[in-house]
Subunit: 441 residues, 2 copies
């Protein structure tokens, strides 16, 4: 930074999060100075719409339509990219790095898809990228991976990292309402986007998983090889049956060592009610990280929202200004542009337990036919729950939970089961995720 | 560090934690190098007893009886102090700083009592002190306060920060066993020290509170002005009555803004079963931190033990080697040697809810006499639970919960109540700590 401890900031994108950042930089200038020892100055706000910037009291003299006005200013030390997406934002970040400005960003999609390229570019220009705000809002999970947990070989990471999905699932379970109804209500309340695809498809969670797993395991993650399922196909019936069995459903982002590879995946999962992540509700997020020395650690807080995310952005600005983020960026070996590619296991090789809901004719011998298939695929059942038919028409639901097995076996068995004449609808599969066991020496 | 990324470490004290540190540095040299980019070398192990050092495979050529042998070596960059206590350890840290060695320590007592002096001394010699391991074992709470939460004005911090106490309280509640019995069992199992005073008196928790609160609020904490009560006087009867009312008992370390001061205290507290800290059991610890931008964040994990604590020590060594810890130490404004003294409120000014267990004669008019006292002290009751006398001899227990009031009022009322002729034993008081409300804008 400047020799007088001044940090000049250019804010690119002043929407929900950007206006929160502007608010902290303007209203809390003296608080930030007394805590950090730094004089952080908002120099430029680049956007096409300044409505929110005006609302939070940004001096109109700082408004810019052209990012170059911000980049050519030698008093700009840090560029905060809050445009989002992977097109314009990518160009802006590249231009900021080329202009030798440090970049602070909340853009998980950009880093998941183009992280290695951007990290290398930052390095080539002697600047850094800080991105605490890209994962789990203001909860400093990235800081933990780069700092306090650095001495650990990470064994597994389990996260509830999308607030919209967690809100919808909590509401479905709490109110017994169907997905579409809860989503519509969440949209009306401003808790879900008008186009919620990125959230409910699991893609947003997968972006965060790619970033977190890359740092946790010190490996370059191939985003395209992450297995991703969303919550948009979840049936309230399965949430109810799961509850009967003592399970809560959550959209989990999981990265776990298995055999000599990494299992990386995002999908709805049944957690037993006693699982540490089962009680994470509403808009709150949490990430469990298991290290070989530290054991189980868990980080919890608001995973989204204007001020929580702004908290992470501004803390990153301070960390860059202090030289802490730059030191980590320059020297750590776990950055994706330096690390080996991860060996990502295909989903068929996942080993775990499964919840299956079969829909069968209400006739003798059905269970025998079905259990025969499981037996031939060497799948042990751990529970069977057969309900009365709801209306006599659509078939009888048979809920089965299995012991640990390979997902490939489950898929093969389900293909056979769904082809049985007595089975009247495709079998629903939900993965059961058990509490991860610490491997302390 | 050395120009070739080598970090030389001298370990002072090779007991439970020290041997964990040695183990990580020796066995995981290559893992640490690939993650951090640093070549960390154990150069000296200073102790009077090398039994554990031998057990974890430290080369005997590194054993030293005299700390000066470690300090005079220019290849020693970081001194790890794991002696404990405030006498010898203080001298060792002073000598290390005077020799211009960075210090990494897990010593909460030393920092709580002499932090400001040692920080100033480190600064004067151009080195830093890193101390993640001093609070909550391997859980990177200090890293969060210095990093990812730095942009926040902290409103409150609530911690379960002593594993021994939490284990004992969890066991008392779970098994319905008395304090002395559970403690004896914990000592037999190696889960409590032979002399458990520092833990069960609350003093260890208060040391950690002094450190955490100092950083959270950017104020110099007067350790002697922290109100401290331990778990050693807790009666199993109150744990049972609390459970009937929906409360779990935990030893909490609390720092909270109230009026224009800070309320800092350690005491057993009743938490409603739905409180985020109520489910933290056994040897696990957790800290809730409330920031003005980030809202509620919670950090959870193992608060003690050889490897979890060693995880924090080694992560600190890496952070010093990277230059991140040194940058924070040099520039942040919130360090106790730079900060203003905190305005710590006396316990009488604490505002909260209370659980009271009165012991009264089984005679008419008792409740009227008692409630009259509360009325005169303007204390509103929120619940009364009167039980049958257990044996007819010791009086009838009357359990009362109050609405929020000042502790000074409670103390004055209890003095009057205990002086009533119908009251046959001193009134037991347990503070009820309700879930802290986020103050998001």
């Amino acid at each position: 930074m400047a020799s007088d401890n001044t940090v000049g900031v250019a804010l690119i994108g002043c929407g929900t999060v950007g206006s929160g950042v502007a608010r902290l930089l303007i209203n809390d200038h003296d608080l930030l100075a007394s805590r950090s020892g730094l004089d952080v100055r908002l120099r430029h706000v680049v956007d096409v719409d300044f409505t929110r910037a005006r609302q939070v009291g940004v001096d109109e003299g700082l408004f810019r339509k052209d990012i170059d006005d911000a980049l050519k200013d030698p008093r700009t030390h840090v560029v905060v990219e809050l445009v989002g997406g992977t097109t314009l934002a990518r160009t802006f970040v590249q231009r900021a790095l080329a202009a030798r400005k440090h970049v602070v960003t909340a853009n998980k999609a950009l880093l998941a898809h183009h992280g290695a390229e951007l990290w290398a570019m930052a390095r080539a220009h002697g600047v850094c990228i800080a991105f605490e705000a890209s994962c789990v809002g203001g909860v400093p999970v990235i800081g933990a991976l780069l700092g306090g947990l650095l001495a650990n070989e990470i064994d597994a990471l389990y996260g509830i990292v999308n607030g919209t999905c967690n809100y919808i699932l909590s509401a479905m379970a709490g109110r017994g309402a169907a997905y579409a109804d809860v989503l519509a209500q969440a949209q009306a309340d401003g808790l879900a986007e008008a186009d919620p695809t990125l959230d409910v498809s699991g893609e947003d969670s997968a972006h965060k998983l790619a970033i977190l797993a890359g740092l946790a395991f010190g490996r370059r993650i191939d985003y395209g090889a992450i297995h991703v399922e969303g919550i948009d196909t979840l049936d309230i019936a399965d949430i109810r049956y799961g509850a009967e069995l003592g399970y809560t459903v959550k959209l989990l982002a999981i990265a776990r060592r298995q055999d000599d590879g990494l299992s990386l995946r995002v999908h709805p999962a049944f957690l037993h009610d006693t699982h540490p992540l089962a009680g994470v509700n509403g808009p709150f997020n949490a990430v469990s990280i298991f290290g070989h020395a530290v054991g189980h650690t868990l980080f919890y807080g608001r995973g989204a929202g204007s001020m929580p995310t702004a908290s992470a952005v501004v803390s990153d600005i301070l960390s860059v200004g202090l030289g802490a983020a730059t030191a980590q960026f320059a020297r750590l070996g776990l950055w994706p542009d330096r690390a080996e590619p991860a060996r990502q296991l295909p989903i068929d090789q996942l080993r775990g337990r499964y919840y299956l809901r079969l829909t069968c004719q209400d006739s003798p011998g059905v269970l025998a036919a079905v259990t025969d298939v499981f037996g031939r695929h060497r799948i042990s059942l751990s529970g069977v729950l057969q309900h009365e038919p709801d209306d006599g028409g659509a078939g009888v639901p048979v809920v089965i939970t299995t012991a640990a097995t390979l997902e490939g076996n489950i898929r093969a068995a389900c293909r056979e089961i769904d082809a049985l004449p007595v089975v009247t609808a495709p079998t629903v599969v939900v993965r059961i995720v058990e509490e991860h066991q610490e491997k302390l020496p």
